[in-house]
């Protein structure tokens, strides 16, 4: 057996190498710094590492796109070929997740400073471990590697959730998330074991095969295992009825971490849902539209009754998982190449837009919340349009984009998802999705009303945001508008996703 790593192998793993070396570096440097020095050294270092990984991802994307100069050739060596997916698909995932981690890092710098004893080293090392796990999950060609990736980012999230140990909500959320997450991981493993028993391999089939051969039926044990495996993935993507943990955990976790959870975890879970699509048992394929419809109904109905904004966004996240599943129906149930192709692109587009939008929304909440520890309700954002026009504008844009109203990117995301489902013949799911987003208008517009049409309370005080936090909010707000007016900016790069 040939054990050599080639240069292409290293090129393929570059974002991972940068991130893991960076995580260890942050951990080591943290040991030797005094309390004051940490706040000056560690955040810029983390930004640098994440920017490096993001750059590596973009470089991979460019060199993998057709027509580029390939150095020396983009074929992996014998060691990585069976286990790693060196494709535009992985590069897009790496870019998305490094971008999300970077934005979360920037949102949390000013937020961390307000803590009693900011734990810079710990926080940032765990923040760097998150994209490592998710990128492993996305690039894996083998369920074993995917599981290790899943566990890495889950463990990082459990700890980040419960890090504020003196807050009862954080401890409660951490414990709930840990117990349920560990259970889901066990289910994932059990499903993998059954798949191995049935098929004799843990390899994930090639993406291209989905479109060439459609979904062949895994039989017997492998089908059973596939079904069980998907339960765990639906849990991670908070698809109803596996969403029970979402509101409590979103509410209890520190707000930047909630942003990470709602965007990063969902992105990773849907990437694996796409690559594992052929493991789904044929007999219960009709369940996917049903799950999509249930998620949309449960998410929207739940969000209607919330007064706490983090819980509201949690339920809206369940509804959005439902919209994503509507497009996923087209992969699972559609016929042939074209359907799967369109649907995968629609899902990736949606994930990118949803990520940007949710980061903007949670970024504003993290900014407003800070210190005062109070739960952030509609009360807290009343009259924000006058008190802090910038914050209010970003939150308003995010709400409009989540609702899917035209000049924002959210509209095109929803449009593509429903168009993909309709062209694959999934009319029922698409219609329920459209109706669901009309219901969703109510609670998103409630945010707008509170922002601009209600008087501000007297004593309200807005803390000053750091430069990085404001920059993130400004960038994501601008991106929501930009991709809304010129959707091709985001559609065109996704065309190179090869099947």
């Amino acid at each position: 057996m040939d054990f050599r790593l080639t240069t292409t192998d290293l090129h393929a793993l570059l974002p991972l190498v940068i991130l893991s070396a960076g995580a260890c570096l942050v951990l080591l440097i943290d040991l030797f710094l005094r309390e004051e020095a940490r706040s000056r050294v560690l955040p810029p270092l983390t930004s640098l590492i994440l920017l490096g990984a993001l750059g590596a991802g973009i470089e991979q994307y460019i060199s993998l796109s057709p027509g580029s100069f390939r150095f020396p050739s983009e074929r992996l060596g014998p060691l990585l070929t069976p286990i790693w997916r060196h494709q535009v698909f992985t590069a897009v995932g790496a870019i998305l997740l490094c971008g999300i981690a970077l934005a979360v890092h920037w949102i949390s710098t000013s937020w961390l400073r307000e803590e009693d004893r900011p734990a810079y080293g710990e926080y940032q090392c765990l923040l760097l471990l998150f994209p490592i796990g998710t990128i492993l999950l996305i690039g894996a060609r083998n369920l074993m590697l995917a599981f290790v990736g899943l566990e890495i980012f889950s463990v990082a999230l459990y700890v980040l959730t419960a890090m504020r140990r003196t807050r009862s909500r954080a401890v409660e959320a951490g414990l709930k998330y840990f117990l349920l997450g560990a259970f889901a991981a066990a289910i994932f493993l059990y499903g993998s074991a059954l798949i191995y028993a049935g098929k004799g391999t843990l390899d994930l089939p090639d993406l291209g095969a989905i479109s060439r051969e459609g979904l062949p039926a895994p039989v017997g044990l492998a089908a059973l295992g596939g079904g069980i495996l998907f339960l765990a993935l639906f849990f991670k993507a908070s698809v109803a009825p596996f969403h029970m943990w979402t509101p409590d955990v979103y509410q209890g976790a520190p707000t930047p971490i909630t942003a990470l959870m709602s965007t990063g975890t969902k992105t990773a879970a849907f990437f694996l849902l796409i690559t594992a699509a052929r493991l789904f048992p044929h007999e219960i394929l009709p369940l996917i539209p049903i799950l999509a419809i249930v998620s949309i109904l449960v998410g929207n109905a739940g969000a209607l009754r919330q007064t706490d904004l983090k819980r509201l966004l949690a339920y809206s996240g369940v509804a959005h998982a439902g919209y994503l599943l509507v497009a996923y129906c087209a992969i699972a149930l559609g016929q042939g190449h074209q359907d799967a192709h369109t649907a995968i692109r629609a899902i990736l587009y949606y994930l990118a837009v949803y990520g940007i939008t949710n980061l903007a929304a949670f970024g504003v909440l993290a900014w407003l919340e800070r210190r005062e520890e109070s739960v952030l309700t509609f009360e807290g954002i009343r009259g924000l349009g006058r008190r802090n026009p910038f914050c209010a504008a970003v939150l308003a844009l995010a709400a409009l984009s989540l609702a899917g109203i035209p000049p924002t990117a959210g509209f095109w995301a929803k449009y593509q998802v429903f168009a993909a489902a309709l062209s694959a013949g999934q009319t029922t799911a698409a219609v329920v999705g459209i109706l669901g987003s009309v219901v969703g208008l109510y609670y998103y517009l409630r945010i707008l009303v509170a922002l601009y049409f209600e008087p501000a309370p007297e004593e309200a005080r807005i803390p000053a945001a750091g430069f990085a936090g404001a920059l993130t909010l400004g960038l994501s707000g601008a991106a929501i508008l930009l991709f809304g007016i010129f959707p091709s900016l985001l559609v065109d790069p996704l065309i190179h996703i090869r099947l």
């Binding site: 057996m1 054990f3 793993l13 893991s20 995580a23 260890c24 951990l27 060691l79 990585l80 069976p82 286990i83 790693w84 004893r117 734990a119 710990e122 090392c125 765990l126 471990l129 490592i132 796990g133 492993l136 083998n142 074993m144 590697l145 290790v148 990736g149 566990e151 890495i152 463990v155 990082a156 459990y158 700890v159 419960a162 890090m163 140990r165 003196t166 807050r167 009862s168 909500r169 401890v171 409660e172 951490g174 414990l175 191995y196 028993a197 049935g198 098929k199 004799g200 391999t201 843990l202 017997g220 044990l221 059973l224």
Partner: protein, 203 residues
Amino acid sequence: MALPVFLILAAGAVFFAANVVLRRNPAECAVHLVGSFFCLAGIYLMIGFPFLAALQLLVYAGAIMVLFLFVIMLLDLRREEPRENPRISTIAPLAMGLLFGLLAVVLPDMPVAVATGRGAVAGAGGAEGGKELANYLFGRHLLTFEATSLLLLAGIFGVVVLAKRRTSRKADLERLLENIEAESRTERKEPPLVGAGSEGVAS
């Protein structure tokens, strides 16, 4: 001949594993875990993986269990009061029992690929087992192997972050209790688990 032995070993593995969860004394749990490992090793031996069976005994039943026991002895554990949670204690076992009962009915009819030699490490039996296993682990799964080290780092690091005393454990607990009281004053909500912060994670 093989079937009864397998059934005994499998039943033993499940019995011991269940006891790991059900026993209240952590040291007892650890000993039951050893029992479960032994049964698993027996099953590996039966399906022709002597090398794996030896590893299972040496590494898990030997090294790792000793480590577990050390940690349990070093932690200052108090006797745990039996807690009552009637809803969970009736519904959950029933649901799990149903699920596994269903599996027990469905599973035996299904063809198994590993036993028929289609498995990827099917050749790992016999005297050459070590070499095959090493090739598999450090060749094909080198990346997985390396990623596991990051997973372990994340796990260890996480425990340290959550269990570390920044001030003192007592002060931490007191602040947690204060926060809980303040919250239950402002809203009528069932207080969450007390003391789950430092101690729950450390054990």
